[in-house]
Amino acid sequence: MNSLLDNRIRVFRAEHRMSQSDLARAIGVSRKTISTIEVGRFVPSSVIALKIARYFNVPVEDVFSLTDQEKE
């Protein structure tokens, strides 16, 4: 069984009317880093995950969650 890291960054960005660049600037990373996390291509370090959650003022579990995927 594989576990995938799901995230709701896009939703939170929409709620706060922010672009990826705005969020990147707010937490001090590059825009590409945000976009790759958002589409699930890059698993962020715990530091980045916590920074994102702190920025949106929510627990980290609200932004990131694990989904189990059955192996075919």
């Binding site: 672009s19 001090g28 990373v29 590059s30 590409k32 880093t33 790759t36 589409v39 962020p44 370090s45």
Partner: protein, 161 residues
């Protein structure tokens, strides 16, 4: 955070330029080896100068970005905290692995007799250049390949919205 963000953006560009610079560097090594091996100075030399020009351009831009990054200062983020750093390391690992596999798997064909493309017929220095060029080429292609695959992934749009 603004300065840290600027620094992170510059770091992404530095990584892309490093991978880009590997291409003309690889071309210079191959052309140098073949010009020495074949003695055909004309076209090979011209191509070599074009590659040197491109590499020079990359080095100049790279230097500017590194100086700007240094001036941006700010808190240094851990090295793994960016996508470009991660794929740069992956590309480097892949190129080392591919070169190792090439040497181990195709040792006979590369170096017995005249070898593939006459590599074994070249002086040792130039055979080494061919192997280094292969490593740089794999490094560059895999870096940009991973970058491109991101854009194709699930048809998701990566561009800023």
């Amino acid at each position: 955070m603004e300065r840290q963000h600027e620094r992170a953006e510059l770091q992404d560009r530095v990584h892309s330029l490093l991978a880009l610079g590997a291409l003309p560097f690889s071309a210079i090594l191959v052309l140098d080896a073949f010009s020495a091996g074949t003695g055909n100075a004309g076209v090979v030399n011209a191509l070599s100068w074009v590659a040197k020009g491109l590499l020079g351009l990359v080095v100049v831009v790279l230097t500017i970005y590194i100086v700007r990054k240094w001036r941006a200062g700010g808190a240094r983020a851990p090295e793994t905290e960016s996508f470009s750093t991660t794929i740069l390391f992956k590309a480097a690992t892949l190129s080392w692995g591919a070169t190792f596999m090439l040497l181990v798997q195709f040792y006979d064909r590369l170096f017995r007799g005249n070898g593939i493309l006459g590599i074994a017929g070249l002086p040792l220095e130039h055979s080494g250049e061919i192997v280094a060029a292969f490593m740089l080429l794999v490094f560059s292609i895999s870096y940009f390949g991973m970058n491109l695959s991101l854009q194709w992934a699930s048809g998701e749009k990566v561009a800023d919205e």
